[in-house]
């Protein structure tokens, strides 16, 4: 166990020195970080990192942007980056959301990727401010051993940098890593390092130059459900007759250590604490309140193991896949429900209507690799536009549903790597004339009318040749 870590360490150290030399030429070092604290939460399979940066402007010109750097391997797994600025003094602090955008820099050392934080007000020379940054990483815990038997518990690797990767000089920094349990097999030491209970503390480290890098590896037990939805298609169909029909198609997989060999039901049932600790049977979906006609099925029929609890503020649907999910096992299912339209559809000032709905995945603590959100507007609606608080891919489709003639416009939003943070509201604006609601009833009525006319005509016309 120790040898690979050490060899990796040496490799990374050379890397680090390489980085260090390149970064000398960076034009950004007129900012410096006086104090940085990082808390890494490894208790679930989504890695949450809280970064507190105290920034000082040591240059002569006011700065309005702060850069964050990430190694390329981490950027692929980066689900979200949020930045908050603290305003006010002491007890009256308020948090302000700052804009964060991915940025390309021409001379990025070693393919480092950047995110720019736009400060609310430029930081003048000599001033300092505090930023709170939160970012989440998915698929960053690597199971080791990669295959476990039913009775074993799941151990994972977490790789990161003992120092905070920043394009600035950092005077003082500390990193705390929180593991889900006391069981930590091993961790890389970069002195000063100490471990207490479920927390590993790296640092404090003093005066590190930009792009300092010192790889660490933590090997620990994590039996939280590694529920990953490989693909989720959510479809919201708006009917102006008063209903919002939501259909969600899940492809769920247990992304932890793969299950190896025997699955013994007798062991699983009789000794649940020792068997299949990393597996999971239940998932909780948080649905909007006043949900009705909920169904939970898959392609071969209804799945009878689910419970719905509703109260005035939220509905909780506890679902149990057909079989417990062990590492690598998959399951597909569909959840569908209806919602009252008036809770979600509003009229905006400029004669438009908009749907206000939650993005993201209703299942708690799950990662969605690919989320496709389809908003099916009623037939005859025009000028659709979506307002989403984070970047998504958008395009339009047409869907034909019950007796449609021209088809319904579908606003398709696609996003990869979705975590629970993305369960925020978004809006889809469109214009719709209520007269279109009558199209289908009128069509049916006229079809029946014509049918009866035809019947009457047939009964009154004598088609026989001979009289």
């Amino acid at each position: 166990m120790e040898t690979p870590i050490r060899s990796r360490e040496t490799l990374s150290l050379t890397l680090f020195s390489l980085l260090f030399f390149i970064c000398k030429s960076s034009p950004l070092h007129h900012l410096l970080i006086s104090n940085a604290e990082r808390r890494i939460d490894l208790s679930s399979h989504i890695v949450k990192v809280y970064l507190t940066l105290k920034i000082e402007n040591a240059g002569s010109t006011p700065a309005s942007e702060v850069l964050l750097a990430f190694p390329p391997a981490q950027v692929d797994h980066l689900a979200t980056v949020e930045a908050l600025a603290t305003k006010g003094k002491r007890k009256k602090t308020t948090l302000v959301h700052l804009e964060v955008k991915p940025t390309e820099l021409p001379d990025a050392p070693n393919d480092a990727k950047y995110f720019t934080i736009y400060l609310a007000s430029p930081l003048n020379s000599g001033e300092s401010t505090t930023l709170e940054v939160l970012y989440m990483l998915t698929h960053s815990l690597e199971p080791f051993p990669a295959e476990i038997a039913q009775s074993e518990s799941q151990l994972v690797f977490y790789r990161d940098n003992a120092l905070i990767l920043l394009p600035y000089h950092v005077r003082q920094q500390t990193t705390f890593i929180k593991t889900p349990s006391n069981k930590v097999e091993s961790f890389t030491r970069v002195e000063p390092t100490n471990r207490a209970g479920t927390e590993i503390k790296y640092g404090p480290y003093e005066d590190r130059p930009p792009y300092s890098f010192s790889p660490i590896l933590v090997h620990f037990e994590n039996n939280s459900p590694f529920a990953v939805v490989e693909e989720l298609v959510r479809e919201v169909e708006i009917s102006h007759w008063g209903n919002l029909q939501v259909t969600e198609q899940y492809t769920l997989v247990h992304a932890g250590a793969r299950h190896k060999g025997v699955f013994s039901r007798v062991d699983y049932q009789s000794r649940p604490s020792l068997n299949g600790v990393s597996s999971f049977r239940y998932l909780l979906a948080r649905l909007p309140p006043r949900v009705h006609s909920v169904y939970y099925r898959d392609e071969i029929g209804n799945i009878s193991s689910s419970h719905l609890r509703t109260d005035s503020r939220k509905s909780e649907l506890e679902i149990e896949p057909r079989y417990p999910l062990f590492g690598g096992w998959k399951a597909t299912f569909v959840i569908g429900y209806g919602l009252p339209l008036q809770d979600f559809l509003f009229e905006s000032s400029n004669d438009k209507r908009y749907l206000n709905f939650t993005f993201g995945c209703p299942l708690l603590e799950t990662v969605v690799d690919k989320l496709t959100f389809k908003v099916v507007l009623p037939e005859g609606s025009k000028d659709p536009s979506a307002v989403v608080p984070f970047p998504v891919e958008q395009h339009l489709e047409t869907k034909y549903s019950y007796l449609d003639v021209v088809g319904r416009t579908v606003v398709v939003l696609e996003k990869k790597n979705v975590v629970p943070v993305h369960n925020t509201h978004f809006q889809v604006y469109y214009t719709f004339k209520p007269i279109f609601m009558l199209a289908e009833p009128m069509m049916l009525a006229s079809a029946f009318f014509l049918f009866f006319v035809a019947c009457v005509a047939y009964l009154h016309i004598d088609l026989s040749i001979r009289k």
């Binding site: 013994s264 039901r265 029929g301 799945i303 009878s304 057909r322 079989y323 998959k330 449609d404």
Partner: protein, 784 residues
């Protein structure tokens, strides 16, 4: 409840001479028919309401899968479909071995709906195909019975058929099987035949052939039609009822029908080459001879005719003998005498149990018990004889057909439970006739004796017979003799049943006088009516009970009521879903053939054998593997490239139709091909047991081991709740298989074949002998 009453209401309405009232009757019967359709559809929805909208049982899953393929790939791909996911490694030509009627019907419905932008899934369409076609079937019954005995009988028969339990059992929502559409096709073909017979119209004869074609597409039971109709034609000829209408009804059917039938790939040349169809050709020849004779008779003078007859008879007999001799020789030269196994077991009920265990092993191929008659056709069983008698009063071409139909179907239903389904429409038709005639008589008696409307009654009675006379449509017919000949005996019949008073007097009496004498006493009629309504009510209650409780379970999901509420056993789908998502797409799964269709449809995995049972040897191989000890079984399965073995085990929850209970059939079928498997080895003193008294062969068989592996750890004793005993061998290890999945209630257990061990140097000698035996597994299997 509603049905007999509504029809009784309709009967008098139809018997008016007033045009307005006639029109009213027409509209009324239209709405009654509509309601009957709704009834037929909705009584079959219990399964959807109590369980869910899901395909039931075994064969429907195959049909569903075929329909999915059809809707996805189109009709041409469907005809050419070679299915490599079943009967591994042989595969199966689906397009050429499946009756495509049901699939094409559902596929067309789906296509129509989707082209109207009604986005129903294929599954939904499949689930509701059977109820829709039951509504059609009850309308077809109305048409058929109307042709035979008038609209009143038609409505009654349609109402009875809409809820006859025997038919419900095969056509509840989700029961997506051939019979669902075939019964409609059967009745409709018969209707068109009778219609042609009554009208002599070539138009209906052509329609009849097309309906027959649809029937051939839908179900192997079409041979019933192609034998029954010739029988009826022969009967008509023999009793001297030959007419040109009979010729028109029959000849086009044989020619066109056979040509069309040969278009269906699964029938093909069988339509002219198998014995099932010979009767139709023979009768075809006979009817031509008869037609020719009648024609000659018309041309020649009686004297010349006699000469011609003697001449032709002497020459013709010689030729006939020669032809028949050749035919018999041809038929006799084929091993099964040109009959398929299933047909043979129909003619000789003991045939299957003697020679083909695979046919005998299917529970629906067993002869029915008496209670099952009561269960399936209920009070109809008592009404049928009355209906038959009513058919003889008077005997027309159409009613003789009904008599023949009921007689043959009673026989067939006695041979196989499954064919109770063919009996059901016949029973409904005859019972409908009986009920309608009885109502007719009673209501008329009441009407006649009630003061005030007696003057009407006379006219009504006259009208009534005219309505029926119309249906018979014989060439010359005055109303009076027909009426008397019909009314008198029918009343006599009723009186014989109810009240043997008032023997009808002579015909010569005055009409009014006769009417009064023919009428039953008021009280007797009223009470009889009440009793009939009660009988009908009882029938309705029984049918609703049967539909709700007995026949709605989809069998893939089981429920049980216990003190703490409803408990759902969804183990089958749990296992199939697991297989679907957690095994490789090309893995082969071995199980007993019952689960083949479900595995391919729900788990989308390749199976070795399935419910199509076309290859006895293949099934016997799987049966042998299941009955062999572990190592021999592993070798058989390994040679078949099997990766997973699935067994169904009910011992933990008490599910009786599991593999252990089917095991003797595996032994029998396996032993039929591989003689080293002997049934007595598995029986202790002729008794099948799995407790400590079980034979070592039994307790070492793969099926026993896979079913009871680690079972003892559940309760410490290993108590089997199905066999109600403790198992014989409790602690054992599996050497060649490993458990990879067991469902929540242990009903399905899936094992994986362990990969072959690497050869170890010291064991070369042993492994050499192993490879030697692997090449001829049969020799090896004998050892243990």
């Amino acid at each position: 409840m509603a049905a007999p009453e509504t029809s009784s209401a309709a009967v008098p309405t139809l018997y008016t001479n007033n045009t307005l009232r006639n029109a009213f009757g027409g509209v009324l019967s239209f709405f009654i028919l509509l309601l009957i359709g709704v009834l037929a559809f909705s009584i079959r929805l219990f399964s959807v309401i109590k369980y869910e909208s899901v395909i039931h049982e075994f064969d429907p899953y195959f049909n569903y899968r075929v329909t999915q393929f059809l809707t996805k790939n189109g009709i041409y791909e469907f005809w050419n479909w070679f299915d490599d996911r079943t009967w591994y490694p042989l595969g199966r030509v689906i397009g050429g071995t499946v009756y495509p009627g049901l699939t094409l019907t559902a596929g067309t419905i789906w296509w129509l709906l989707n082209s109207l932008n009604i986005p129903l899934s294929v599954e939904t369409v499949c689930v509701f195909t059977a109820p829709i076609f039951s509504a059609f079937a009850s309308w077809a019954t109305y048409l058929l019975t109307k042709e035979v005995k008038g609209a009143g009988a038609g409505l009654t028969a349609a109402a009875l058929l809409a809820m006859v339990p025997s038919y419900i059992s095969r056509s509840v929502a989700g029961s997506y099987d051939n019979e669902a559409v075939a019964i409609f096709a059967l009745i409709f073909t018969f209707y068109l035949y009778i219609k042609t017979l009554n009208t002599g119209s070539l138009f209906y004869a052509t329609l009849n052939s097309i309906a027959y074609f649809y029937m051939v597409c839908s179900w192997g039971g079409y041979t019933f039609i192609i034998n029954l109709i010739p029988m009826h034609v022969l009967l008509c000829i023999v009793i001297g009822r030959y007419s040109s209408r009979l010729y028109i009804a029959y000849a086009p059917l044989v020619v066109l029908g056979t040509l069309l039938a040969a278009l269906v790939p699964v029938v093909g040349f069988n339509a002219v080459m198998t014995s099932e169809h010979f009767a139709s050709f023979l009768v075809f020849i006979i009817i031509h001879v008869v037609a020719f004779v009648y024609h000659i008779k018309g041309i020649l003078s009686p004297k010349m005719f006699k000469v011609a007859v003697t001449l032709v008879a002497s020459v013709g007999l010689a030729v006939c003998c020669a032809v028949i001799a050749v035919l018999i020789a041809l038929v006799a030269s084929s091993p099964t005498k040109g009959w398929s196994g299933r047909s043979l077991s129909l003619l000789d009920p003991t045939y299957a149990s003697k020679y083909i265990p695979i046919i005998a092993s299917v529970s629906e191929h067993q002869p029915p018990t008496w209670p099952s008659y009561f269960m399936d056709i209920n009070v109809l069983a008592f009404l049928v004889p009355a209906g038959i008698i009513a058919c003889f009063l008077p005997l027309s071409d159409a009613s003789s057909f009904v008599v023949l139909y009921i007689a043959t179907s009673v026989y067939f239903s006695g041979v196989m439970v499954r064919l109770m389904l063919v009996l059901a429409p016949a029973a409904c038709i005859t019972s409908g006739i009986a009920l309608s005639q009885a109502f007719d008589v009673f209501t008329r008696s009441i009407k006649f004796q009630l003061p005030g409307i007696s003057s009407n009654a006379e006219v009504d009675a006259g009208e009534a017979s005219s309505a029926i006379a119309e249906a018979q449509n014989d060439a010359v017919k005055t109303e009076k003799p027909e009426e008397t000949s019909r009314d008198r005996p029918s009343r006599k019949n009723k009186k014989k049943e109810k009240e043997p008073v008032e023997k009808p007097s002579t015909k010569a009496k005055a009409k009014a006088e006769k009417k009064r004498l023919l009428a039953l006493p008021l009280e007797a009629s009223a009470i009889s009516l009440l009793l009939l309504v009660l009988l009908g009510a009882f029938y309705v209650v029984h049918c609703v009970w049967a539909a709700a409780e007995a026949y709605s379970a989809p069998s893939i999901v089981l429920t049980s009521h216990s003190h703490d509420g409803l408990h759902v056993f969804d183990d089958f789908r749990e296992a199939y879903a697991w297989l679907h998502h957690n095994t490789d797409v090309d893995d082969k799964v071995a199980s007993w053939w019952d689960y083949g269709y479900q595995t391919t449809a729900m788990a989308n995995r390749t199976v070795i054998v399935d419910n199509n049972t076309w290859n006895n040897t293949h099934i016997a191989t799987v049966g042998t593997a299941m009955s062999s000890p572990e190592k021999a079984a592993w070798e058989i399965f390994h040679s078949l490239d099997v990766k997973y073995v699935l067994v169904v085990f009910g011992g933990l929850v008490g599910y009786p139709s599991d593999d252990i209970n089917k095991f003797l059939w595996m032994v029998r079928i396996g032993g039929g091909v591989f003689p080293h498997i002997k049934e007595p080895d598995y029986l202790r003193d002729g008794q099948y047991r799995i407790d400590s008294q079980g034979t070592p062969t039994m307790l070492n068989s793969l099926m026993y081991k896979l079913s009871y592996y680690r079972f003892v750890e559940t309760d410490g004793k290993g108590f089997d709740r199905v066999r109600r005993t403790e198992i014989g061998k409790k602690y054992f290890k599996l050497t060649h298989f490993e458990e990879v999945f067991t469902t929540h209630h242990w009903m399905v257990r899936i094992y994986k074949l362990k990969s072959p061990k690497n050869r170890i140097r010291g064991k070369t000698k042993k492994s050499k002998s192993k490879t030697g035996s692997a090449s001829s597994p049969k020799g090896k299997k004998k050892n243990p």
